[in-house]
């Protein structure tokens, strides 16, 4: 199992040549992820009929790497694909090429060349306005106006205000209608979050996509496509086998133990409000310290994706910064997705609310009652901790959640990973991926990624929709 696990993409391509003869599955042409051994993904649960049919329709039977990795959770995949294609292909306020262009803009914010290439290709297939692909300055002013909320949503969504919305929808030559804006906002949030997933799970670029010629070629040169993150980190990884690592054996047990204890304690935990508040603040503050080292300097490589990025220096900044006037905490109960977000989004862009709702719900409720080798475990506590931790980093606070749990359940390595994947996914490395939860299966780590992605998307949407609501009232 571990033999092929650590081979980077380059080598795998060579092996692939040899293996071609024995390939059984028609849609696997290369490893879908650089973090996860290929055979783990192929051996995943079979997709159900309707999902397969859906894929057939939309992809002509081809599964891209992203779908394959996500296919580890077929139930979620179905909800995801339905939403994804509704956003990109079905009836909606925005024309098709706009949608793909917005997808490109959003993915480019995180330098996610995989997604950018994919949508550049889709954009070309539509066959109009192909000069937009030369860069942002070639697209209409109307789209360029989106840059501002694109960058805010991608990096510091709490800064979005009703003035931003006002600036976009105020009548004028390049104005957006509210329906169009909501569509754009959902697209932006969707693709920001998707970029998180792509980096977080080390999804490889699709070979088919990089092979197309024309404009795409100079955006995604083959060399660039091969330069996956694993390449950077591979050298010092060696041939480590996480399962044999002696000191991690008790890690899982300890986590299970803590979960059990928390469950018991909960009954008699009489933490005062002040205590709860400080716990949230503490978690928020602590998230600042969780920084992946070595990236202090903001150097944006002159990647070909950069042409779709405006103001590249704008990056993530911690929500709670030391000694500064922090923006007020977002009280989750005052603007919830179920009550407020849904109503607004569904009003302006019909049916998307149901699809998003379904997606969030599926992601949050997904469980196999497994934890690594243990079965019959109620993982809801862990899932909620992950979800709420992401929201905590974005300054969203749940009154009814004890943030002390986060501290007990999520180890430091995991926090580093979470923070990196949600806030600056482009820095995710294979080492981070491997450094937490050594005994867990890859599919469980993908599950973590799904939760992070959905939590991030919901956080962005909540901030954006709240701003739109404020604008409307």
């Amino acid at each position: 199992m571990n033999g092929t696990a650590d081979i980077c993409n380059h080598c795998r391509n060579m092996i692939r040549e040899k293996e071609k003869g024995m390939k059984m599955s028609r849609h696997i042409s290369t490893g879908p992820s650089s973090f996860i051994p290929e055979n783990e993904i192929i051996g995943a649960m079979p997709l159900n009929d309707s999902t397969v049919m859906f894929l057939d329709e939309e992809f002509s039977g081809r599964m891209d790497n992203l779908t394959q990795v996500m296919g580890l959770h077929p139930h979620y995949l179905q909800a995801f694909l339905r939403c994804h294609y509704y956003l990109l292909r079905m009836d909606g306020p925005l024309p098709l090429h706009y949608r793909h262009y917005i997808a490109i803009m959003a993915a480019a914010r995180h330098q996610c060349s995989t997604l950018v290439c994919q949508h550049v290709q889709e954009f070309e297939q539509i066959g109009v306005c192909s000069d937009w692909l030369r860069g942002l300055e070639f697209c209409p002013q109307r789209l360029r106006n989106l840059n501002e909320i694109n960058k805010i949503l991608a990096h510091r969504p709490w800064l979005i205000t009703k003035q931003h919305i006002q600036a976009l929808v105020k009548t004028g030559e390049h104005s957006w209608s509210l329906a169009e804006l909501v569509h754009a906002v959902v697209l932006l949030a969707h693709f920001h979050a998707l970029a998180s997933f792509v980096f977080g799970s080390g999804v490889n670029p699709d070979p088919e996509v990089t092979e197309v010629n024309g404009v795409t070629d100079d955006i995604c040169p083959p060399a660039m496509a091969g330069l996956c993150t694993c390449h950077l980190t591979n050298s010092n990884q060696g041939n480590r086998n996480p399962l044999r690592n002696p000191d991690t054996g008790s890690e899982l047990e300890a986590l299970m133990e803590r979960m059990k204890r928390l469950l018991e304690e909960r009954e008699d935990d009489d933490a005062s409000e002040e205590e709860m508040f400080t716990r949230f603040e503490k978690e928020k503050k602590e998230s600042l310290l969780v920084v992946s080292a070595g990236f202090d300097e903001e150097v944006v490589p002159p990647s070909p994706v950069a042409r779709f990025v405006d103001d590249p220096s704008f990056g993530y900044q911690d929500f709670a910064r030391h000694g500064e006037d922090n923006p007020p905490t977002f009280k989750a109960q005052d603007y919830t997705w179920e009550d407020h977000g849904f109503s607004l989004v569904n009003r302006l862009y019909s049916d998307i609310g149901h699809l998003l709702d379904d997606k969030f719900r599926t992601a949050c409720d997904l469980t196999y009652y497994n934890m690594a080798s243990h079965e019959g475990v109620d993982t809801s506590m862990l899932r909620r901790a992950l979800f709420n931790y992401v929201h905590c980093m974005y300054g969203i606070r749940y009154d009814d959640y004890d943030y002390g749990e986060v501290n007990q359940l999520l180890e430091r390595n995991l926090k580093v990973y979470i923070k990196t994947v949600t806030c600056y996914p482009e820095r995710t490395t294979r080492r981070m991926y491997e450094s937490y939860w050594h005994q867990f299966r890859h599919s469980e780590k993908v599950h973590v990624n799904l939760l992070l992605m959905e939590a991030r998307m919901q956080a962005e949407l909540l901030y954006a929709l709240r701003a739109i609501t404020h604008y409307m009232t």
Binding site: D49, M53, D56, E57, E58, S60, G61, R89, M90, D91, P95, L96, H97, I126, G127, V128, C129, R266, D270, S272, E273, E274, M276, F277, K331, Q333, D334, E338, D339, H340, F342, S343, L344, R347, H354, D357, D399, D400, T469, M472, T473
Partner: protein, 780 residues
């Protein structure tokens, strides 16, 4: 408004409001209707209801740093015990408050059994010590206030609980509504299982309310923007009324003393409070429009007084609404209706009073059908209910029937759309063809336009002959190189006469209209037109002419001596002014503008002909501004078909002149029209031929064709024609036994079929199914 039938002694007041310090989440009123409690994230206060305003009585939010227990999602004042309140906190605590406590902190008991936010608390209507709570964690708990802990826990086995309500009539029953759309009925004595469950809404049910009098009536409101009234008294839960609102329903409260009335407010976007008569679900009975942000809590001030409603809102205000101050949407509603029938008929309903004297207007072709007409039995007179307070409006219906082939019908549109050629032939032929089509359909103006276009934009060499020919037919145009002004106008006049035969009536209006502007004898068409031109030349449209001249100057090398009147004639190009000007003038009717427009068109023809004869140098570009005007004119007139057709046929010749957005707009309107008339092929052709990016990608949506294998009925993958499940060829032609890859026709009786042409051939020889199943196939 109706007279007050019952006034409960103490309640009086007027519409009034007060500012709160913070947004309210919920309000509740005490039993004797003298005090109201307001609760929210940062507010927890009691206000006294005085005659002329609210007076703050008590602030329950005490302490230097108030805990989250004060952050209330819901509040309820006990209806039996006037000192007892309960709140649901966002952190999952259920708190009771006793106003009789002597110290500042009135908190009595704290239950922290729920793990998530508590959405709702509810006191038992008659039992003093019984409190019920419903929480986000999916549990409902019943508390006995004499004990420290809950006495029973009810698990909904589904998602979060949004509302719990004790039944007013049945001592043991309560209803709970859930985030997943279910409503459950429970017996308080049996915590193990619900008595009843039904799905009330799609999406969360935010609220429910028992009818104060009718046992078993429950109103529910949900995110799906509906309010439904359920009858629980029968074995099967039955939906008896349904009101569709415009936003998700956050609260619903039955109106006291009014059996069919209930009040609602919404969760998002809409800030008004509506009172509905559930039997009249389309228009609210009354509306309160005071709030500036969403209303979060509504409560009727007194259980037996239907005239006072209290409401709290996110805009940090607390209102008392008087029913007599409510706005009544019915009064403003428009009881008129207008609708087009399938065949161009027009039905129009209006108040009878308005319709009583219609004949004096002198409409033609109008038929009035009073309510009794057998042919249009539209009115079902509902027996007025005494309890109903709706204004009775009776309307009269008129139907305007279109005569076959009249202008109301859109036959010309369909015919034109189908017969126009937009591509596939040389430009001149396309124009020629389309001109013929228009002519055949009795649309001389369009026909002439096409002819003009051909002349303007054709290469000078080849099509000139045919064009001359054509023009000579339509008017005896003098093609001599020297002609006098008089002759020229005579020619014009002559052609006008021709047109006049077509629409004499319209021209007359036109002439009358022009009379107002110019002091000519209206009947003299000749003078009129020349005057018109001359006047407009030095008029406000001067600048436009300027542009033209700039464009034409380089090519303007004509032998002067042969043209004594050259300049006068050349001035005609500025003649589209009438076209441009007319639509702006308020009293233009469509037909009038039409006939005016003819004139400038004709005058162009004169020029271009002369150009062709003497100077083939005038570039087609020269006409672009005029053609642009013309297209805009057509589009303005509603004939977007013409605009788009010309746009497509002219293609690059004109496209640059008109901005993208306008073009897109035209295309969209035309495609929309075509699709309404189910002219799918034409609409697709238009999409294909369009040059706008946004239009071209229209036909790239929904391009998937779903195929099921004819053998095993499973969906086919898109690879090849062999089903990968049963390994048979799908859709085989019954005649030639090959796979059908194009049009597949099959008999609906036996479902055998094949290539269209094969089946057609087969059926010429035999009536039986080609597959040999013995069926006598029928194809229509």
């Amino acid at each position: 408004m109706e007279k007050m039938t019952r006034v409960s002694g103490t309640v009086s007041g007027c519409t009034m409001f007060c500012h709160l310090d913070a947004p309210a989440n919920a309000i509740s009123v005490c039993r004797d209707a003298t005090q109201v409690v307001v609760a929210g994230r940062n507010i927890f206060k009691i206000y006294g209801l005085e005659e002329d305003g609210f007076v703050e009585r008590l602030n329950l939010r005490v302490g230097r740093k108030p805990s989250l227990n004060f952050s209330c999602a819901d509040v309820m004042w006990h209806q039996m015990e006037e000192n007892l309140l309960a709140t649901a906190a966002t952190n999952g605590a259920v708190v009771t408050w006793n106003l009789a406590r002597p110290c500042r902190n009135k908190q009595e008991q704290l239950f922290t059994e729920h793990k998530r936010t508590v959405n709702k608390v509810c006191f038992h209507p008659t039992e003093v010590n019984m409190l019920l709570s419903g929480s986000q964690d999916g549990f409902m708990k019943c508390f006995d206030l004499r004990k420290k802990e809950s006495v029973s826990t009810f698990s909904g086995q589904s998602e979060s609980v949004r509302d719990v309500q004790f039944s007013i009539k049945d001592y043991f029953t309560f209803a709970a509504s859930f985030e997943n759309g279910n409503v459950q009925l429970w017996d308080i004595r049996r915590p193990d299982r619900y008595e009843r469950m039904f799905t009330a809404h799609t999406g969360p049910v935010f609220c429910c309310d028992w009818h104060p009098e009718d046992r078993g009536w429950l109103a529910t409101g949900g995110r799906d923007k509906m309010v439904k009234v359920w009858d629980m008294s029968t074995n099967r839960v039955k939906e008896i009324y349904c009101v569709q609102t415009i936003a998700s329903v956050a609260r619903v409260k039955w109106r006291p003393e009014r059996r069919y009335h209930l009040a609602t407010c919404s969760m998002m976007v809409d800030h008004n409070i509506y009172v509905w008569d559930v039997r009249r679900p389309f228009i609210p009975f009354a509306t309160f429009e005071e709030h500036k942000d969403v209303t979060t809590g509504i409560v009727w001030r007194h259980q037996h007084d239907p005239y006072f409603l209290l409401s709290g809102s996110k805009d940090s205000t607390l209102y008392q609404h008087m029913f007599k101050d409510a706005s009544r949407p019915v009064d403003r509603a428009n009881p008129e209706g207008l609708c087009f029938g399938l065949f161009g008929d027009l039905a129009f309903a209006a108040k009878e009073s308005l319709m009583s004297a219609p004949q004096s207007v002198g409409d033609v072709g109008r038929k009035t059908y009073p309510g009794g007409d057998r042919r249009y039995p539209i009115f079902f007179f509902k027996k007025p209910d005494v309890t109903e307070q709706f204004a009775q409006v009776s309307s009269a219906l008129s139907v305007f029937e279109s005569e076959a082939g009249s202008s109301v019908g859109m036959d010309w549109f369909i015919n034109t759309a189908q017969s126009y050629l937009l591509s596939g032939k040389p430009f001149a032929e396309l124009c020629e063809h389309n001109a013929q089509v228009a002519k055949r359909l009795n649309r001389p103006q369009e026909s002439t336009t096409w002819t003009m276009l051909r002349i303007m934009f054709s290469e000078p060499a080849n099509p000139s002959l045919s064009s001359n020919h054509n023009l000579n037919k339509s008017g005896n145009l003098p093609l001599v190189n020297s002609f006098s002004m008089k002759e020229m106008s005579a020619a014009l006049n002559e052609r006008n006469k021709e047109n006049r035969q077509d629409n004499l009536h319209s021209l007359e209006t036109n002439l009358n209209n022009n009379d107002e502007n110019e002091e000519t004898e209206g009947s003299e068409g000749q003078a009129e037109y020349l005057f018109g031109d001359a006047e407009l030349d030095d008029d406000d449209l001067y600048s436009m002419e300027h542009d033209n001249q700039a464009a034409e100057e380089p090519e303007y090398l004509l032998p002067q001596e042969a043209f004594p009147l050259r300049h006068e004639i050349m001035d005609h190009p500025s003649a589209p002014e009438p076209v441009q000007e007319k639509p702006e003038s308020p009293h233009v009717s469509g037909s009038e503008a039409e006939s005016t427009c003819l004139t400038p068109m004709e005058s162009f023809s004169l020029i271009s002909v002369s150009q062709l004869l003497f100077s083939p140098h005038l570039p087609p570009k020269f006409f672009c501004p005029i053609v642009k005007e013309m297209l805009c004119y057509y589009a303005e007139q509603g004939d977007v078909q013409m605009a788009v057709s010309v746009l497509i046929v002219l293609g690059d010749r004109i496209r640059k002149e008109i901005d993208e957005l306008t073009q897109e707009h035209w295309y969209m309107s035309y495609i929309d029209l075509l699709q309404r008339f189910e002219l799918w092929n034409v609409s697709n052709e238009v999409i294909k031929l369009s040059t706008c990016g946004a239009i071209m990608c229209l036909n790239q949506t929904s391009t998937t064709l779903h195929i099921n294998c004819s053998n095993c009925k499973r969906p086919m993958s898109n690879k090849g024609w062999i089903c990968d499940r049963c390994h048979h060829c799908a859709s085989v032609c019954a005649v030639c036994h090959h796979v059908v890859k194009g049009l597949f026709v099959w008999c609906q009786g036996c479902s055998h079929g094949g290539h269209l042409e094969h089946v057609m051939e087969w059926l010429k020889q035999s009536k039986h199914c080609p597959a040999g199943c013995g069926h006598l196939c029928e194809y229509t």
